[in-house]
Symmetry: C2
Subunit: 211 residues, 2 copies
């Protein structure tokens, strides 16, 4: 640590032509958001509280970052906006959830955003429970999917965790450990092979008491 880096996050972009004022404000908002989301979680954190911590108007937070979900994603440096995937999942028929999730998520991995997703995965695997990206994934992404499958007698948590285990392993096998022929399998074949597994976990008989 030197005197120059006083615990703040990097402001590298500020030195490359952006206006320092905006950069500082954005950085202050992001820093406040990281602390708030880590301390109280997504649901109980408000834009207003983050704006208060950063000493800015809440409207400015929305202006810079959009929704609370988008601010959380920016704060944990989530490598891709999951909204398109989550919207697709929201609108998919219940019996097409598995194929929809696999096609949409693998499509992101295979896109230019893929390396960023791999880097995020490695940071989650390295950071365990303390990983900020893990919090976003569990509190926002998984919760949106779980809300679609929850019933009065099954909160869907075990189903979501099992589906997540398959998707995490698919990412790792395909993009990190490079296990062939899965690493180079066309996406249609991946959807055909893995979609039914995710579907089974989300809506089938998983044998653990959840119906």
């Amino acid at each position: 640590m030197t005197d120059g880096e006083s615990g703040s996050d990097t402001t590298r972009s500020g030195r490359t032509g952006r206006r320092p004022g905006n950069t500082d404000t954005r950085a202050a908002i992001l820093a406040a958001a990281r602390i708030r989301f880590a301390d109280t979680g997504f649901d109980k954190t408000s834009i207003r509280a983050i704006a208060g911590d950063a000493d800015v108007d809440p409207a400015l937070v929305h202006h810079y970052f959009g929704t609370k979900q988008q601010l959380f994603a920016a704060a944990v440096e989530f490598p891709a906006d999951p909204e398109a995937t989550l919207t697709a999942i929201d609108h998919a028929p219940l019996d097409e959830l598995g194929a929809t999730i696999v096609r949409s998520v693998v499509g992101v991995w295979d896109s230019p955003a893929g390396p960023g997703v791999v880097a995020m995965a490695r940071s989650i695997f390295g950071g365990g429970e303390a990983s900020p990206a893990r919090s976003f994934l569990l509190q926002v992404v998984f919760e949106r999917i779980r809300a679609r499958i929850a019933t009065p007698t099954d909160d869907g948590r075990a189903r979501m965790a099992l589906a997540a285990s398959q998707m995490i392993g698919l990412l790792t096998a395909r993009k990190i450990v490079d296990i062939e022929p899965l690493a180079s399998m066309p996406i249609d074949e991946v959807v055909a092979a893995v979609g039914p597994t995710v579907q089974h976990y989300l809506t089938g008989d998983i044998g653990t008491g959840g119906v």
Copy 2:
């Protein structure tokens, strides 16, 4: 520990507290093994060649390390001897492969060897294709399982990769990312939930052309 042990790294008798000969010999064999296995793979590497590189008698290699598989495991510092698991898989009925694999492997993760497995997984995730432990897993462990399911019209590689993706994700979700309720799910429930998936990948209709 008794005075009678031979081939160990340390000894209480003798002129010095340590017998450098044995330690050096073991280290030389392991170093030669790492290079040979990395260069030519498990199948094409012989104990005799490794012994030649290390300038020792092949019998000494067997004496110190046992089988070629055990030497490979020692060279990559594999955290648990997979032979018990592989023997169980060899002897399981074909339609019980999934449950057998999940019960045996999760049993190791939940044992005192678990932290070593997690450390190995992290090293594989970090090292990608260059990881020595990855080579052992793919060339020895996966190959033994694949041999059980291969048919004249399906080499089983896609099946094995898909099953591996589920097991890798299960390890990651249960032991690294700690996704509840999967992280604390009793092993019987894990077998009930995930065993059918692994079974399906290994012997079911996976929709990718393999029959």
